[in-house]
């Protein structure tokens, strides 16, 4: 195998390792939230440091790759996409960490009722499945599956747009639960961001495989990072 392929494989491997950690962070944050498992939340937050190290390491690897191999065409797109996927993964990890910090402030699990009403769990499930699907698409590329991920993001946006009203009415009815409501709204906002980031990842994969730029093409409203 040519050396350039060996190096690209190493890069991909590293990225997938990071992916696994972030996936664990994301699914564990859901777990921690539902059971108010502060210990698990702490673990997720701690893993953030590891993810950061991966982030730096992969950046460095990409830099070396550019310097030593002067990639062109598909190789160039792959490294460029790895760079951006890496950044997105790191931020998804940060988001999971952020959710866990909220969990640490909550004193009890979010009630099933509220979770269902605000469609929080549905959001979580969609975001997680998008995340897992994008990993699969990176390994075995399938343009249809990749575009499916982009569509799923719309559902997350829809839920998010409606959630403010749901939570406002919850807080009106439960003045004692205002704090919980704020936290809940925060989590929903974070999950919506996760959706955007996974979307970015999927777009990067499509760019790498098909050399098509999908970013900013659809007329969807992109929310700025908060």
């Amino acid at each position: 195998m040519p050396q350039i392929d060996i190096e690209l494989n190493k890069l991909q491997e590293k990225l997938l390792e990071m992916w696994d950690i972030v996936e664990y962070q994301l699914s564990s944050s859901r777990e921690a939230m539902l059971t108010n498992d502060v210990e698990l939340a702490g673990k997720v937050i701690k893993l953030g440091k590891k993810v950061n190290r991966y982030d730096v390491k992969i950046d460095r690897q990409c830099e070396n790759f550019f310097a030593l191999f002067n990639p062109v065409a598909v190789d160039l797109r792959q490294v460029l996409s790895v760079l951006k996927i890496n950044a997105n993964l790191e931020r998804i990890g940060d988001t999971a960490e952020g959710i866990c910090r909220i969990v640490e402030k909550l004193h009890e699990p979010i009630s099933q009722e509220l979770a269902a009403e605000s469609r929080l769990l549905e959001m979580y499930d969609v975001a997680l499945s998008m995340f897992v699907a994008s990993r699969q698409v990176l390994i075995t590329y399938d343009p249809v599956a990749a575009r499916e991920i982009l569509k799923q993001d719309k559902l997350l946006n829809k839920i998010y747009r409606k959630s403010d009203k749901v939570i406002a009415s919850f807080m009106n009815n439960n003045p004692a639960g205002i704090e919980v409501g704020l936290h809940l709204y925060n989590i929903i906002k974070k999950l919506e961001r996760v959706g955007d980031q996974v979307t970015n990842i999927a777009e990067e994969i499509i760019f790498y495989r098909d050399a098509k730029v999908l970013r900013h093409k659809a007329r969807k409203k992109k929310k700025k990072d908060q």
Partner: protein
């Protein structure tokens, strides 16, 4: 504490062609079983330096060295060292493929014949092993008696590598081994270098910086007879410590 013995070492090496000071106080130590690339503009002394390791410069009238060159800790310019023995230990591949006008087989076993080895089975076995090592065996195994000059440039160069490997050296010097070849042949040679470094210490002179990046573990930058910088290739190509190196590898020289 015993000092580490490097595979190849130069200690305060100065070299002259007559009055011309070609190499100025070079200190370098090279690891075993690693690829070290020498880069630098033409006339910077990198080829001269490479050729001191198997004393190919001895032929040039008016050439002399000061300082030490050590192979496994032994000074190769010592009077007790026999040059032909040294060259069995330190093989060399040249810029232009230079097969002898003989058959492929005779090219590979030339070094063995020089040593007086006549045993057919030994010659045959060594030829096959060396050609396999040089990734040429499958292409020539049915035509071992064909003239080496009938091979393509890339094949000729791999034949020259096989020829060098046949006398089982531990160091392989390569003087711009791919500069006369097309990109496909170049890629094959580079891949070969990656495989060979598992067993050999390789020093390669190259004008092609991408090539240095692709194949080497360490890179040494020479300028006007001086060794400006020697470090891991990754480090040298991402954050060179000397501005001259930076200017050279970014193509902003002079």
């Amino acid at each position: 504490m015993s000092k580490k013995v490097y595979k190849l070492e130069a200690k305060n090496l100065n070299a002259y062609y007559g009055n011309f000071h070609a190499l100025k106080g070079i200190d370098i130590a090279m690891e075993e079983k690693a690829v070290t690339a020498f880069i630098g503009p033409s006339g910077c002394g990198k080829s001269t330096f490479l050729r001191t390791f198997n004393r190919m410069n001895d032929f040039i009238e008016g050439f002399r060295t000061e300082g030490d060159i050590l192979l496994d800790g032994r000074d190769i310019y010592d009077k007790k060292i026999r040059v032909d023995e040294l060259r069995k230990e330190v093989g060399m591949v040249f810029q232009k493929p230079n097969p002898f006008p003989k058959s492929i087989f005779e090219n590979v076993v030339y070094g063995l014949r020089l040593q007086g080895i006549k045993n057919k089975a030994v010659l045959q076995e060594t030829a096959e092993k060396s050609l396999q090592r040089a990734a040429l065996w499958s292409e020539v195994k049915d035509n071992l008696n064909k003239s080496a000059l009938a091979l393509s440039g890339g094949q000729q160069q791999r034949l020259c590598i096989a020829r060098a490997l046949a006398i089982s050296p531990s160091v392989l010097l390569m003087d711009e081994p791919a500069s006369a070849l097309d990109p496909i042949s170049t890629a094959k040679i580079e891949e070969l270098i990656h495989e060979l470094k598992n067993d050999y210490t390789i020093v390669i002179v190259t004008h092609n910086m991408q090539q240095a990046g692709r194949v080497s573990d360490y890179t040494a930058f020479f300028y006007m007879g001086e060794l400006v910088e020697h470090s891991k290739t990754k480090a040298l190509f991402t954050s060179p410590s000397d501005t001259r190196t930076q200017n050279y590898i970014t193509g902003r020289f002079g």
